[in-house]
């Protein structure tokens, strides 16, 4: 994994930790809902935390297609490059 990708995953972890108030060890193949035990509200709050972390806008429907941590990283990369 590239250094930039590592940093991105680390930033995502940090955003997530602010939402669930516990340490997490994120892997790219993790399923956000099942492996991390997030309910629909936690996912929406995670989305807000990510928006603030990366200073981007992530419309809720963009989150709907995100299943794994890797999907999320790709979505954020796309949104950042469009910004």
């Amino acid at each position: 994994m590239s250094e930039a990708k590592d940093q991105l995953i680390a930033d995502i972890s940090e955003a997530l930790e602010t939402v669930i108030n516990r340490k997490v060890e994120l892997r790219t193949d993790m399923n956000i809902v099942n492996d991390l035990g997030l309910d629909s509200i936690a996912v929406m709050n995670f989305c807000m935390a990510l928006e603030d972390k990366f200073d981007i806008s992530i419309p809720l429907h963009d989150m709907a297609s995100v299943v794994t941590v890797d999907d999320l990283a790709k979505t954020i990369e796309t949104l950042r490059s469009n910004a």
């Binding site: 629909s40 989305c47 807000m48 928006e51 992530i58 809720l60 429907h61």
Partner: protein, 438 residues
């Protein structure tokens, strides 16, 4: 494996809840005998969870007009306004609501839920942008899902957070619609509407305020939070319901936006549903007249709210951030909340229970709503009962337990408690078993 297998987790949670010995989502009333009294398991029960703010469900005039409407116009319209036409009553009610709010246009929907669904899904299209308070009612979220506009949430009651998110949109084309609520249905807190109006103006957005729980409750004339805050001219769309202060069922949206009427041919939740029956239209018209003619009901409601809120706060309960007819008591442990709720019902008091995962921080709310029809004695009874059961369950210290160093359940500073409660989230999307209560 059945098609219902996906609800296994929800089933488990529900079973777990029922093991405590109560089912707060399947209360069976033997009878409802007045605005504030019912019968449960043969026992007369005080109702503190009905949203019956002005106490008009048994109003003699409304009942008489409703009965007369059935005699004259029948029991139902058996179709939609668009396909089957509007009755005189529909038009009269729309004119009365527009007049009450000082707006040019009004659309009446068959429920309050559908009013949000119909307006939000239609006003913004795929090239527009929708901004929702994170604690929005399920009907607002569902409206956003039925429509095609990208949805961005902002932190609850936080105009700066909204401004930040609007700023991020940059110069992207498309109209922007901000949706907030007058009084939030779970904690009873109000939106900082003046500040939201400033943000709306700065970013050239439209503003919709859902006054479901504030109509008839706030403002000198009962028009809601926008009236109380003096910002009605800046609210582009007011959405409301008939199932609270107006004591029936149905919803509406008023606006003075030019061209508003075309929404009747664009809003699917308006077009493809049966219109309200004559009995409902008549009682709602009557209740609206009473709301306007009897401000003393609002005065009594405000006094009752204060009596209940301050009573519970003084007893040491962790209440919501501000006094309104919606009074919420936080209970950290859901199991204790279910037991609390069950004990209250056994002792003759009914209120609502909101449980995780539909509540923040894995805590639960005992959510009550006060009515103008409650007597002082009934409110005092409720406070005393909740205090007694609270002590029984260890939520409050014993009466004679003088403690120099108050523990977490014995913090008496209302401000301090309010600040904590203000960070709590109410009931967003209909995610859990407690959803859809309001």
């Amino acid at each position: 494996m059945s098609i219902l297998e996906k609800f296994a987790a929800l089933n488990n949670r529900y079973d777990h809840l029922k093991q405590v010995g109560a089912d707060p989502f399947a209360v069976k009333f033997d009878d409802i005998i007045s605005c504030v009294e019912g019968v449960v398991n043969g026992k007369k029960t005080l109702l503190f969870g009905t949203n019956n703010y002005l106490g008009l469900t048994f109003d003699d005039e409304a009942k008489a007009e409703s009965i007369e409407a059935i005699r004259r116009h029948g029991t139902g319209t058996t179709g939609s306004r668009i396909a089957n036409g509007s009755y005189k009553g529909h038009q009269e009610l729309e004119r009365a609501l527009a007049d009450f709010y000082g707006h040019t246009h009004c659309m009446v929907f068959s429920t309050g839920y559908q009013a949000n669904l119909g307006m939000i899904s239609t006003l913004v299209g795929k090239d527009d942008h929708l901004f929702l308070d994170a604690d929005s009612h399920a009907s607002i979220y569902d409206g956003s899902r039925l429509g095609h506009a990208p949805v961005v949430r902002f932190r609850h009651n936080n105009p700066d957070d909204l401004a930040k998110r609007l700023r991020r949109m940059g110069d992207q084309p498309g109209d922007k619609l901000i949706v907030v609520e007058g009084i939030y249905s779970m904690l009873g807190d109000t939106a900082p509407l003046k500040e939201f109006v400033d943000v709306k103006r700065e970013y050239g957005a439209y503003l919709m305020v859902d006054e479901a729980h504030s109509m008839g409750v706030l403002g000198e004339h009962g028009r809601g939070l926008a009236e109380r805050e003096g910002v009605e001219d800046d609210v582009d769309f007011v959405v409301g319901t008939f199932s609270k202060s107006l004591a029936s069922v149905g919803g509406f949206c008023v606006s003075s936006l030019e061209g508003f009427e075309i929404l009747r041919l664009a809003s699917r939740p308006y077009m493809f549903t049966a219109s309200l029956p004559p009995a409902i239209i008549s009682s709602t018209l009557s209740a609206l007249r009473t709301l306007r003619a009897e401000p003393q009901r609002r005065t009594k409601l405000t006094a009752n709210s204060r009596r209940f809120y301050t009573g519970l706060r003084a007893a040491g309960f962790h209440v919501g951030p501000e006094c309104s007819p919606i009074v919420a008591v936080m209970v950290e442990q859901p199991e204790v909340a279910v037991m609390f709720w069950k004990r209250l019902l056994e002792e003759g008091m009914y209120l609502n229970l909101a449980l995780p995962p539909a509540t923040p921080n894995s805590s639960a709310f005992m959510r009550s709503s006060v009515s103008a029809a409650h007597t002082d004695e009934q409110i005092d009874f409720a406070v005393a009962l909740m205090t007694r059961v609270g002590r029984e369950l260890g939520l409050l210290p014993e009466e004679n337990n003088v403690c120099a160093f108050p523990g977490p359940t014995a913090v008496f500073s209302g401000e301090r408690l309010g600040a904590t409660a203000a960070t709590a989230r109410a009931l967003p999307q209909g995610a859990g078993a407690a959803a859809g209560m309001a």
